[in-house]
Amino acid sequence: MNSADGTPAPAILSANRISKSFGEIPVLFSIDFDIKPGEVHAIIGENGAGKSTLIKILSGIEQPTSGTITYDGQTVTLPPDGKAEGMGIVLIHQELNLAEHLTASESIFLGREIKRFGFLDIGEMRKRAAALMDTLHVRVDPDDRISTLSVADKQMVEIAKAISRDARVLIMDEPTAVLSVGETQTLFEQIRRLTARGVAVIFISHKLDEIMELADRVTVLRDGQLIATVGTEALTPDSIAQMMVGRELSNLYPPKHEPDVDAPVVLGVRNLSAKGVRDISFDLKRGEILGFAGLIGSGRTAVAEAIVGLSHRTGGDIALDGKPVNFTQVAQSVDAGLAYMTKDRKGKGLLLNMGLRPNLTLLTLDKHIKAGFLDGSSEDRALERAVRRFDIRARDASVAVGRLSGGNQQKLMLGKTMESEPDIIIMDEPTRGIDVGTKQQIYHIIAALAAEGKSIILISSEMQEVIGLSHRVVVMREGRLTGVLEGAEITEAEIMRYAAGIKSGNDERISA
């Protein structure tokens, strides 16, 4: 899958001295970039570095402020609104971009329906959609409505949609952020199949091992500047990280402090059943980081949502500090010191049309009330704190959150959850879409919280993250808890064994 058989192939799409400003705010400075047929060219950089903006320009969604685009050797002005698709440039947006009311098959063919005698050929589209799902190993029925799909499945539908179009250049903005290892591998297979046919692929990811595995060349952006474009073979994960962040990244994961074996159990869950999960039991101790691993759709989110009262609990008991609790409203769990941070930042986490401040304080507005009225300056102080603590980069606090870069949205959401100063925090995919530098910060924050005596449930599909941070790891499969791992058992292979159902048991560990 190398770019060519030695002969330097001409670029199919290139950006020449592209600059971009939103209003007066410069976001990209004179970027040169190109992609050749059959090549995977990765773009990496910190959150807000301008990656998404660059590829939006390369697909016509945004127009550059200056500079030119060359496609097929000709200088072109790409048509807006995804019409560049007609020219063979297909984009998977960073944020999920599906209409919730439509079905999977309708979404995949939206804008280029298959017709017969002027009417939609629904059967044919359904058949092709099903075939696409099959090649991607996704269990999504073509007639399923998008609104009923999990985030990961939605992403797979997006991928199916993109690869179904006759792309000459396929651009993917963090397609793997919500995918687990298995799905990521499936995606890579498809990408290799496409590049073998000469499709050019631009790939954005914060997961450096993926970059190393997939990319032929890597372009690094920082603060809107082009830092370098290099062949992957000349790189190591460490050197990439250094180029991105501009400094040495020593330890991604902070040292694990030894958990206190005698620490009291702060959260006890017994035989919990709810929509999508059955018979879940586990304990969480003070100062512990409890990882939740499992395949996408294994029910980890469902467990969390049932605990905090977001979904209806059909059975089982939950105890907080030994006292039974029954949350039916999120507010109750927040008041009890238990907070949940959703993985769906766009649909459930943030009000995209509002500014940073109202978003940050929405969960904890009570804290900013003085004599019955909102205290704006107290909110401002909270925002200042959060911006500093989580390194949120917004050019202006009044900008709508929807305009922030994906990673910065994630950081804001983290700040929002932490505003409630919870004793127990359930974090669902906390580092989704976050650059390595910030990831490291967040890992240190998580570890520090645990050290302070807070307890953390860490739901993550990034195996390394779970392994690197957790004191114990719960593994789930098909809505059931299949194992609890501790100490040296916490390895990738062992987790996979439980997650895939090859191994299960050791219930005695549950209340270890």
Binding site: I61, D81, G82, L98, H101, L110, G111, R139, G297, E478
Partner: protein
């Protein structure tokens, strides 16, 4: 390593909900029919049923247009006034053509063509203001509602525009006669409904309406020409108002400032009772037909008995509308 997602067992809850959602309006319809039968033996008579369906055809045809508009995330409050002004101008044109064309089908057909044309023009106007002017549909059509209403009042000089009697006699069968005993309004309503269902489900246009109503941005990024599709929904709405008026004029033979008052509300109610969501993204033509027929039957049933004081008709109507939708509850809340 590459393990696919687990098999999630059948989702009974969702299936159940979907059923209620589908069956809801039909159930309400069935209950109303039972109520009607119990109240009066003539309820199921051929005459009564054709009467009710023929009457519902105006609102029904308009409501089918409204289903497209609403599915695409829009709203048209002007349809009632639009109907009035179209009826008025149609009548004026027909009366005016008599000296040149004489009494006969020629005049009537010219009038019909005028009606459809005017509907299209009104739709273009609404749609253009909304899509190119970027003004909220509510405001544009509230504005044109007033404008159209004023126009017909002005044209009728505060009174009534009446169709020449001889022409009216020629035209009358379009409402009162039919094919094989089925009155024309019912036939036209059925054809428009079938056509609407086909367009909504089996054409790209119908699909684009849902996509736009669901998420305009997504539609735009899928290289759908959002403005054009939306404009088309308003034009379609206008043309269908024109078609409804073609059937209305032979029934009443006149138009005045009170023609079509509150039709917009009735049409929208029919659409929503039928299961289409007011916020857009999901539309169901057959549901609209059921919704409109429910509304028609409520009026009919109120006439079948003397138990409820006529002062309370509105209350009965209100209760049935709420109940009809309550039967599909479990839907996402508005």
């Amino acid at each position: 390593m590459s393990v696919s997602a687990p098999d999630i067992p059948a989702k009974p809850k969702r299936g159940f909900r979907l059923d209620l959602k589908t069956v809801g309006p039909l159930l309400a319809l069935a209950l109303l029919v039972l109520l009607g039968i119990s109240l009066n033996e003539n309820f199921l008579s051929y005459n009564n049923l054709t009467n009710v369906l023929a009457r519902s055809s105006f609102i029904g045809i308009i409501a089918i247009g409204a289903t497209f508009v609403i599915t695409a995330g829009g709203l048209d409050l002007s349809v009632g006034s639009m109907a009035a002004v179209i009826a008025g101008v149609m009548i004026m044109v027909m009366n005016w053509l008599i000296p040149t064309m004489g009494i006969g089908w020629g005049v009537v057909i010219a009038g019909m063509a005028t009606g459809i044309l005017l509907g299209g023009v009104a739709g273009v106007f609404n749609g253009t203001m909304i899509t190119r002017g970027r003004i909220e549909a509510f405001i544009v059509t509230l504005g044109t509602m007033g404008i159209f209403r004023s126009l017909v009042t002005f044209l009728a000089d505060g009174g009534t525009l009446s169709l020449n009697f001889q022409v009216a006699d020629v035209y009358r069968p379009v409402y009162y006669a039919g094919l094989l005993g089925v009155p024309w309004p019912i036939i036209v309503f059925a054809l428009v409904a079938i056509g609407g269902e086909v367009v909504m489900r089996y054409t790209a246009f119908g699909r684009y309406c849902a996509a736009i109503g669901s998420n305009e941005q997504v539609a735009r990024y899928s290289s759908i020409n959002v403005d054009n599709v939306r404009l088309l929904t308003y034009i379609l709405q206008g043309v269908l108002v024109g078609v409804a008026v073609l059937l209305y004029v032979p029934r009443l033979g006149s138009a005045s400032s009170t023609t079509g008052v509150l039709w917009e509300l009735e049409a929208i109610a029919g659409v929503i009772i039928g299961g289409t969501t007011l916020k857009g993204g999901y539309g169901r033509i057959w549901g609209t037909v059921v919704g409109v027929v429910i509304l028609g039957l409520i009026g009919n049933i109120l006439n079948l008995q003397s138990l409820i004081s006529p002062y309370l008709n509105g209350a009965f109507q209100g209760v049935i509308i709420i109940l009809a939708v309550l039967l599909q509850r479990g839907r996402k809340n508005a």
